[in-house]
């Protein structure tokens, strides 16, 4: 378990419990959303790179990239 706590009274020792069907469905749905968000992040980075490359003034390009 990666979590640390000073107030939680229960055990924080991780147990390898197989997630039930409902949780598996939740995680599958989350996996799909995660893929979309990662794709969006990749697109934002690509657009930023393209915009920076379009700047001809080297000083402006450098300051925009900061």
């Amino acid at each position: 378990m990666a979590l640390k706590s000073v107030t939680f009274k229960g055990s924080l020792t991780p147990k390898d419990v197989e997630p039930n069907d409902r949780i598996q469905r939740v995680l599958a749905k989350h996996q799909s959303a995660r893929s979309d968000l990662v794709r969006e992040a990749r697109q934002i980075t690509a657009e930023r790179r393209r915009a920076l490359e379009s700047i001809r003034d080297p000083d402006l390009r450098r300051s925009a990239a900061r």
């Binding site: 749905k29 003034d57 300051s63």
Partner: protein
């Protein structure tokens, strides 16, 4: 909160920068393309021109359209046929003197050597003429000396008095503003009081008042009767370049002028080159509106400074070096700092170069806006929504199957802040006063997770050392969501992308402290961390 939906309203400040100010037109274009609504605009020097034109209703395309090449100079030409290009704003003969000045300043080392040589040669000539006992030789040598002294004196006079006259530009600008704002009233003088009402943004311009030896803020509230063209003229009179500008101010009592006084102004850049601070009150009244400060940096091509060439660097430092201070007083603001290959006096660039600089300014501003205010913040907010949905779904599997109300925020340090984190991009905080709260790193669960780089899960009540202790947190404690029952704080770090943030998730459901719950939060922590790690790595 930095989300596109709330970013419609903005106060925008433009710094001074001479010919580099062309970047502002590109910045304006990028802001307009993102549908920013200008609540107020402020400017100093070149920034004052852009601010006044924008406040009067000119779009960036009317100021200089990089596609067609049409610019505000064309409109000024219709008013004053003597204005054909940007260099004509310096008045008759002004640009010739400025070119000479620019050439001189760029060849100052060689000119110093020549001047010393001429001085020595002249002195030697006087000595030789004295020894020759020739009256003509002595007269010639003395006349040469007198001529050199006269040239030096005239040069100093010219420099101190200003190389160019702003009056022609000021008068044309006054008519341009009148024609745009009051086309049916040719005699109407556009004053500062015409802004901040009738749907126009408020306008603030900074000048340096030499008569009172202080910063002078021209605004609808402080100087309602001052013509905007005078305020702009005062703001752009850079010492040496322009003659100081004089404005007649009136003291009015019971509606009548009691006395008049001439005030002498020079470029506002020497007192505040990036006027974001004049919007303090407006920002307090509309805290969700953003202040965007477009600063022109002057870092490139800086010479190696030694004891004999420090003066030009000192002047540039005075103009450009205090941007951070000027912004500081305005609370949460975003400062865009752009450099340009242009020099302060490159007003004689070709139209093609000017158009390209505007395009570049637009692209550079767009990159910055999308990173700090639009695309990346929107993505962060969507991440928070997904985290909220995931937390609710996972906790629904808990024995009492009521996840309750769940809130999510991303915590980041404000620019140059070292002891606190700001809750940003939040979802679920709409009813709570801790939306956007600044959380101290010392004395908070969030701070403990951030500084130790370990995920924390805590339930209420917290021990005193994590519960915002001390007098400095008294007001902050009142802002904390009273119903919170648990919170999870997850640090995310990607050094290669210079991204270091923390996710805070909290909820009001009182959960049993058993292994099922710890398992659920374990799954939540792992899923959220994986999600953010992957996204942050893509942003690098």
């Amino acid at each position: 909160m930095r989300t596109a939906a709330r970013l419609n309203r903005a106060f925008v400040a433009f710094s001074g920068g001479g010919a580099k100010g062309l970047i502002h037109v590109g910045a304006l274009r990028a802001l307009e393309d993102r549908n920013v609504v200008f609540q107020g605009v402020a400017g100093t020097s070149a920034g004052a021109i852009v601010a006044a034109l924008r406040a009067a209703g000119f779009s960036s395309r009317e100021i200089l359209d990089p596609d067609s090449g049409v610019s505000v100079i064309d409109r000024l030409h219709e008013i004053d046929p003597g204005i054909n290009k940007a260099t004509d704003i310096f008045g008759r003969g002004g640009w010739v003197r400025l070119r000479l000045f620019r050439w001189t300043s760029r060849h100052i080392s060689a000119l110093k050597t020549i001047a010393v040589g001429v001085g020595v040669a002249d002195f030697a000539g006087i000595l030789a003429a004295g020894e020759s006992h020739s009256r003509w030789a002595i007269c010639g040598a003395l006349l040469t000396s007198a001529l050199l002294v006269w040239v030096a004196k005239q040069s100093v006079r010219c420099l101190i008095g200003g190389l160019a006259d702003i009056k022609g530009f000021r008068d044309a600008l006054a008519i341009l503003l009148q024609r745009r704002m009051f086309p049916d009233a040719p005699e109407r003088v556009v004053t500062m009081s015409d802004f901040g009402r009738d749907g126009r943004p408020t306008l603030k311009v900074v000048g340096a008042n030499l008569s009172e030896r202080k910063l002078h803020l021209f605004s609808p509230e402080r100087t309602p009767d001052i013509p905007v063209a005078d305020a702009v003229a005062a703001s752009i009179c850079l010492p040496v370049i322009f003659r100081p500008w004089t404005i007649e101010t009136r003291e009015i009592a019971d509606g009548e002028t009691v006395s008049t006084k001439d005030m002498v102004f020079v470029d506002g850049g020497i007192v505040s080159n990036l006027p974001a601070w004049p919007f303090d009150e407006e920002r307090e009244l509309d805290p969700e509106a953003l202040t965007i400060a477009v600063a022109i940096a002057d870092l490139s091509r800086a010479p190696v400074v030694d004891r004999f060439n420090w003066l030009p660097s000192a002047i540039r430092t005075a103009l450009f070096g205090s941007g951070e201070l000027n912004l500081r007083a305005s609370g949460r603001s975003e400062q865009l700092e752009l450099e340009s290959r242009l020099d302060l006096l490159d007003f004689d660039m070709t139209l093609d170069d000017a158009r390209q600089e505007v395009r570049d300014g637009e692209a550079a501003t767009g990159v910055w806006l999308d990173k700090w205010l639009f695309k990346r913040p929107d993505l962060y907010r969507t991440l928070c929504l997904e985290t909220q949905r995931l937390a609710a779904a996972i906790l629904s599997d808990a024995p009492d199957d009521t996840p309750g109300r769940i809130r999510v925020a991303i915590a980041l340090p404000d620019r140059d802040y070292r002891h606190s984190l700001r809750l940003e991009f939040s979802v679920g905080y709409e009813r709570d006063p801790d939306e956007g709260m600044l959380v101290p790193i010392e004395g908070s669960v969030l701070g403990a997770a951030w500084s130790k780089n370990e995920s924390r899960f805590e339930v209420a009540p917290l021990p005193p050392d994590l519960d915002l202790p001390g007098d400095s947190n008294r007001l902050r404690r009142k802002m904390v969501w009273a119903d919170w029952a648990w919170q999870v704080c997850i640090p995310i770090s990607a050094r290669e992308a210079s991204i270091h943030l923390a996710i805070r998730i909290d909820g009001d459901a009182v959960l049993p402290e058993n292994e099922l719950i710890s398992g659920a939060f374990d799954m939540l922590e792992k899923s959220v961390k994986d999600l953010f790690d992957e996204v942050v790595s893509e942003l690098s």
